[in-house]
């Protein structure tokens, strides 16, 4: 039996959609025009449900700092917090999207932490008050953290309509307020985000600046 004309057309469209996977370059600047590094750019596809996350993410602790400073993961991702120092750390989060505590430990904890709710999480260490890092838990597999030059490239986005947002640890307000819509087809498109940022007042490590009775 000859396939109907309608079926042929539909098949071609579906293939075309896959073939037309595109890239999206996100350029982030702060309100003074400087490049915004450590921002999380993410694109949420209209309608379509995303596949389950596959990869594990790692937030390391090296020289009494979290590495990296900002991590982005898809919701449901397991994150391991290895301690690469020869002293102990005590990692915690008070953030509503994931409250947890990894009491004093060295080496690699037996269990990873599964980030099962969308949200932005602040990590701290109870021993080293200056240690701070962030995990952005996102409802999409399409994301990237901006580099020093304030740019991120989201690759292999299937053609379609996306809502693109940018989050930053110092962002004033919610990322939804700056959301942009874009149609992705073949090729690379570009979006500019200008973020209003708060002063960075993170706890200080140098001697003479630490408070809280730290010695």
């Amino acid at each position: 039996m000859r396939p109907s004309r309608g079926f042929v057309v539909l098949t071609v469209l579906v293939f075309a959609g896959d073939l037309l996977a595109g890239s999206l370059e996100v350029i982030v600047k702060d309100d003074k025009g400087r490049p915004g590094s450590d921002a999380v750019a993410y694109a949420v596809a209209a309608g379509a449900a995303s596949a389950a996350p596959k990869k594990q993410a790692v937030v390391d602790q090296r020289d009494k700092q979290f590495v990296p400073y900002v991590t982005a993961v898809q919701v449901g991702t397991a994150v391991i917090f290895p301690n690469s120092d020869n002293i102990r750390h005590h990692v915690y989060s008070f953030s509503p999207a994931k409250k947890f505590e990894l009491p004093l430990y060295s080496g690699v904890p037996a269990e990873p932490v599964v980030f099962d709710k969308v949200g932005f999480i602040t990590l701290g260490c109870n021993i080293h008050d200056w240690m701070i890092a962030y995990v952005a838990v996102l409802p999409t597999p399409y994301f990237q953290v901006t580099r020093q030059d304030g740019r991120a490239v989201l690759k292999d986005l299937p053609a379609g309509q996306y809502t693109v947002q940018v989050w930053h640890p110092a962002l004033k307000g919610q990322p939804e307020a700056l959301a942009q819509r874009i149609d992705v087809g073949g090729g690379t498109k570009s979006l500019l985000f200008t973020l209003p940022l708060k002063h960075d007042v993170r706890a200080k490590r140098a001697p003479g600046l630490t408070t809280g009775g730290y010695r």
């Binding site: 102990r88 701290g124 140098a206 600046l209 408070t211 809280g212 009775g213 730290y214």
Partner: protein, 276 residues
């Protein structure tokens, strides 16, 4: 049994202890090193001051930390070398935090015992400071800290024995990620030594005196030990150069009274601190 468990916990904590080495050096200017009330008697000077320390932080439980430290301090004055001093000290402190994280309120009970060897050896002696401090974060950039300290200096020459009670409060602002500003107030009550060219029957009435002191050259002065009350306001800024180093600039205005005697000190300090 209990003791051996405690020892075992202490030993295992030591094995995983975290060392911190700090060094600080800089200059301090005192507008009235002689603590004199009459402007003709006032002698100012500046000193080079250094301090090195090694400290060990032992986290005993989630909220309780034991800090043990050893340090060496020195001061070299530009003109009045009788006040040059050097000496070692040892300290132990327990810090308890009411909860997890840097914003949790905390209390610290600490004691430092040291020996100060003065160039003018008669002034040398043992120094003990018992310090109770507490603090609370009002927001992610403002913290309030305050406390009480009791300082006791014991010298073979008991004229130089001093006991001082100190109450202090300070507010710490994190202005940016590398700049911290502190505003503080200190009240001190206790023994002070004020130098004056005699005769000063007005001071002699309420003081112990020690005559013919040549610390400040000619004319010879009398050192009067008396009970003074000091109000001091201070302001300091600290700037983090990199994660292991900072510079600090500080100013303190202090006014000390024992009716009818009254003298003022302006202290200016500039330091560089490094840690490893």
């Amino acid at each position: 049994m209990t003791l051996s468990i405690v020892l075992l916990i202490l030993f295992s904590s030591f094995a995983r202890a975290e060392w911190r080495f700090e060094g600080e050096t800089g200059v301090v200017y005192n507008s009235n090193l002689s603590n004199s009330d009459r402007s003709a008697d006032v002698r100012d000077d500046w000193a080079w001051r250094s301090d090195i320390s090694a400290a060990n932080g032992l986290q005993l439980t989630r909220d309780l930390r034991l800090n043990l430290g050893a340090d060496m301090r020195g001061e070299v004055w530009d003109r009045f070398d009788a006040f040059n001093t050097i000496g070692p000290g040892a300290s132990a402190g327990l810090r308890y935090r009411f909860g997890l994280g840097r914003q949790a309120p905390w209390v610290l009970l600490e004691d430092r015992f040291g020996y100060d060897r003065f160039h003018d050896t008669a002034q040398s002696g043992y120094d003990n400071v018992l310090n109770f401090q507490t603090g609370i974060a009002l927001s992610d950039r403002i913290a309030l800290e305050g406390g009480y300290a009791f300082e006791s200096f014991v010298s073979p020459n008991d004229f130089y024995d001093r006991q001082v009670h100190r109450g202090n409060a300070r507010m710490v602002f994190d202005v940016t990620s590398s700049l911290q500003v502190t505003v503080g107030y200190t009240y001190r009550e206790g023994d002070v030594i004020s130098y004056a060219v005699p005769p000063r029957p007005d001071i002699a009435r309420f003081s112990i005196e020690r005559e013919d002191q040549d610390e400040f050259g000619q004319p010879l002065r009398t050192a009067y030990k008396l009970l003074g009350r000091t109000h001091a306001l201070s302001f300091s800024i600290a700037y983090q150069l990199m994660k292991y180093a900072s510079v600090q600039l500080g100013y303190e205005y202090a006014i000390t009274t024992h009716d009818p005697l009254q003298y003022e000190n302006h202290l200016v300090e500039a330091n560089i601190a490094v840690a490893y």
